[in-house]
């Protein structure tokens, strides 16, 4: 049995979201199991199943090195550019 991660799109217009995992011997069974397990109440209209060994994830150890550089780049946000009230629609 392999572990597959399951992603659902609740309705068109939204992106797929991780909901959990299933065990299956192959992709087709993973898809059927995901349908039975995660969409008994119309929770989705599209399913992705992904062999969990295929997911490459960032390491929590690298959290600071990866994500902290964004913290001091406040000039990326519109609030960094205040104007007088007279300037409108911007």
């Amino acid at each position: 049995m392999k572990l597959y991660e399951v992603f659902l799109r609740a309705k068109s217009g939204l992106s797929h979201k991780h909901v959990g995992s299933v065990h299956a011997t192959d992709a087709q069974m993973a898809m059927q199991n995901a349908r039975d397990l995660y969409t008994r109440r119309e929770e989705g209209e599209s399913i992705w199943v992904v062999d969990s060994t295929q997911i490459i994830s960032s390491n929590p150890n690298d959290k600071a090195a990866y994500f902290e550089p964004a913290v001091d780049k406040i000039y990326r946000h519109p609030s960094f550019y205040p104007f007088d009230k007279e300037v409108k629609n911007i």
């Binding site: 049995m1 572990l3 991660e5 909901v19 959990g20 995992s21 299933v22 065990h23 011997t25 192959d26 069974m29 397990l37 008994r40 109440r41 969990s52 060994t53 997911i55 994830s57 390491n59 929590p60 150890n61």
Partner: protein
């Protein structure tokens, strides 16, 4: 893998600094996610609790399955089947959450089948008449909801998310049970007597579902500190009683406790001391149906062996075919 590559702390490297930083995250209401650092004991407690919870959902299908073929109408049969299927689903959500902690589903399942792992004591009681299907939904699922709503805010992310999913489905379980009770209680005198009988037998075991009294609960303090648990056993039990007594009154049924009485001073119901010997005896394996439940699970696992083998061989064959095509 999403759930593996664990940054596991080797035994003994739970340094005070790491423990401290961890506690600070918990205190800030941050959720802990699968690959984050966590104390060994936190991981172990969660694996034990989540897998026990999963086993309870799986074994919990059995008492109700007893009535599927004898449900009084097609409507009741469909409802019961849907409810039982939900319980299987709850088991699977929870195994999925426990796996993110590095425990294999196979191992957890083997521990259930060998009797090493525990499941909720309530499922070792029999369902003797149709009204039991009602009493189980109303009281057993009702008690489970009290517990599970509290667990939606547990500190471990995957557990909390599984609980949110489960809670969305539980309300249907409790309401269909109460609906059965209502029909029986307002039916013929015989039906009402069956409903009362079911309530008499299910009441105390349902109260025991919240676990031992706080003064005897071995795991509580640390679990509260780590926000795995967020309310004590006794608090949840009281909440359940307070919510349920008026529902029994509406049914016109009486709760089998002569000391049950609303206490104006504290705004809660007083009730008799629970027979703790009975709870511990059932947990030890001496309940009316322990052996039957274990036999049923083991038989189901053995009977399904050929399906698992066939699926594995089929998958291998498909892989080979694909591989040969690629080579050709």
């Amino acid at each position: 893998m999403y759930s593996q590559g664990l940054r596991d702390s080797k035994a003994g490297d739970d340094s005070p600094e790491l423990l401290d930083a961890f506690q600070q995250r918990i205190d800030k209401e941050e959720k802990i996610e699968p690959r984050d650092w966590m104390p060994q004991a936190y991981r172990k407690t969660l694996i034990r609790q989540i897998s026990q919870h999963a086993h309870s959902e799986i074994v919990g299908q059995l008492p109700e399955a007893n009535w599927v073929t004898r449900a009084p109408s097609l409507k009741r049969k469909l409802i019961l089947l849907a409810k039982i299927q939900d319980e299987a689903g709850h088991g699977l959500y929870l195994y999925s959450a426990a796996e993110t902690l590095g425990e294999s589903r196979h191992q957890m399942y083997q521990d259930l089948l060998s009797g090493k792992a525990k499941y909720s004591s309530i499922f070792n009681y029999p369902t003797l008449n149709w009204a039991d299907a009602g009493a189980v939904g109303w009281l057993v699922d009702g008690a489970a909801i009290m517990n599970q709503v509290a667990l939606c805010r547990t500190s471990y992310g995957p557990y909390s998310r599984a609980m949110v999913r489960i809670c969305k489905e539980e309300s249907f379980h409790q309401r269909q049970g109460y609906d059965i009770m209502l029909k029986m209680a307002k039916g013929s005198p015989e039906q009402k007597a069956m409903a009362q009988d079911a309530l008499n037998r299910t009441w105390w075991p349902s109260l025991m579902m919240f676990g031992p009294s706080d003064k005897d609960s071995t795991h509580s303090d640390q679990s509260m500190k780590w926000k795995i648990k967020r309310f004590s056993n006794d608090d949840l039990r009281q909440k359940f009683i307070d919510a349920t007594v008026p529902q029994a009154e509406y049914l016109g049924l009486s709760i089998p406790d002569k000391n049950l009485k609303y206490n104006d001073k504290i705004g809660h119901y007083d009730f008799s001391e629970i027979k703790w010997d009975e709870l511990f005896n059932v947990i030890k394996g001496n309940g009316p149906c322990n052996q039957q439940r274990m036999d049923a699970r083991n038989k189901a696992y053995e009977d399904g062996a050929w399906v698992r083998e066939a699926a594995a061989v089929y998958a291998e064959k498909q892989d080979n075919k694909k591989h040969n095509k690629e080579v050709a």
